[in-house]
Amino acid sequence: MELRSADEAVFRRVYDELFSVMYKVAYHVTLNADIAEDICQDAFVRFYDKDITFPSMDEAKFWLIRVVKNLSINHVKKKSREAASVEKMKKAQASNPFRDGESQLLINESQDAVRRAVAALPEIYRNVIVLREYADLDYKAIGRILDISESNVKVRVHRARKELEASLMREV
């Protein structure tokens, strides 16, 4: 069934169905609730204003998630440029986070640590992992949204998890 984005009834249905997944993508990329909210709002304004007719809810979803992903990445890039020099200083001063002593390797499972680890992934890995785990999309859909091949998605998911595993390992 076709969906016309500027049709108010359609818009409300799409909003109700997709806000949550869009917010998850924006949040886990930016790690900032207020920014994620702004990004979702911005995406929906574009959706409405552009008055696009989508062949299905899935197509609308891919479009919206792509917009949200781009806005989020854009924000992060801008922010990281601004913060680059500050971070450099912080890193130089940071002490060794690991304690001495016995080293049993475990994954840090705290929600906060995991969220930060995901958001700290290199962009190409963060994109696939956010779309896979938080938008619950299959490889095919992820490939379409990111405009990469399915086998490329496959490789990136694997590498993303490998990086996550390494960054969440901690000594206890």
């Binding site: 806000f19 917010y23 994620a36 499972e109 929600q111 962009e123 938080y134 496959k154 996550l164 969440l168």
Partner: protein, 193 residues
């Protein structure tokens, strides 16, 4: 032969196709090392999923954004152009410059009718865009009101129409408006490699 992490990740995501899928299952059923590794990857995946932003975190934001959209976006009967929005945002500083080049299209249907406001005389065309230069100012009913459209600045007219809930599309000709912090470009950003 044992299964590497790449295969295991694909398998765990349910994306491994036949016959590799059956082959992997068969191997996992008798190789403890691979089964343990699959378990670890699966656990990691669940840990990441559990860290998802929660429904409780999302819900108030969903409500708030909808309220904002209802007020600012859905209430517009006809969509404003992107340019129109930029012009609105940059109104103060663009309008003076733009005025000379501007054509105002008023989606006018019985303009001002039923509002008891007859002070600004603008001729109304039925559902048809009208160009300001083609508008014949209409005399007000009250004799003391002799003002025509020319007596009002573009900004005043737009503000008035906006306040009354009418839709105005503003088209600039021959001026490049200042882009809204390049935000439109982001859709073209390549996220790859």
């Amino acid at each position: 032969m044992c299964l590497d992490d790449q295969i295991l990740n694909t398998y765990i995501d349910g994306e491994l196709s036949e016959p590799w899928r059956s082959g992997a299952e068969e191997h996992l059923s008798h190789c403890k090392a691979c089964a343990d590794r699959a378990e670890a990857i699966s656990h990691l995946r669940n840990v990441v999923r559990r860290a998802a932003v929660t429904a409780e975190e999302i819900s108030p934001r969903k409500d708030r954004v909808l309220a904002i959209l209802e007020k600012n976006t859905l209430s517009r009967q006809k969509k404003q152009t992107r340019l129109g929005r930029i012009v609105n945002m940059k109104m103060g500083h663009l309008v003076g410059m733009a005025a000379a080049y501007t054509v105002v299209f008023v989606g006018a249907w019985s303009l001002f009718a039923g509002h008891g406001e007859k002070n600004i005389p603008i001729a109304a065309a039925q559902n048809a865009p009208i160009e300001i230069s083609n508008i014949t100012p209409v005399r007000s009913v009250q004799p003391e009101r002799q003002k025509t459209l020319d007596d009002f600045s573009l900004e005043q007219i737009l503000q008035y129409l906006d306040a009354k809930g009418y839709n105005v599309d503003l088209t600039l000709k021959g001026i490049q408006p200042i882009p809204a912090s390049g935000i439109e470009e982001i859709e073209e950003i390549e996220s790859d490699i």
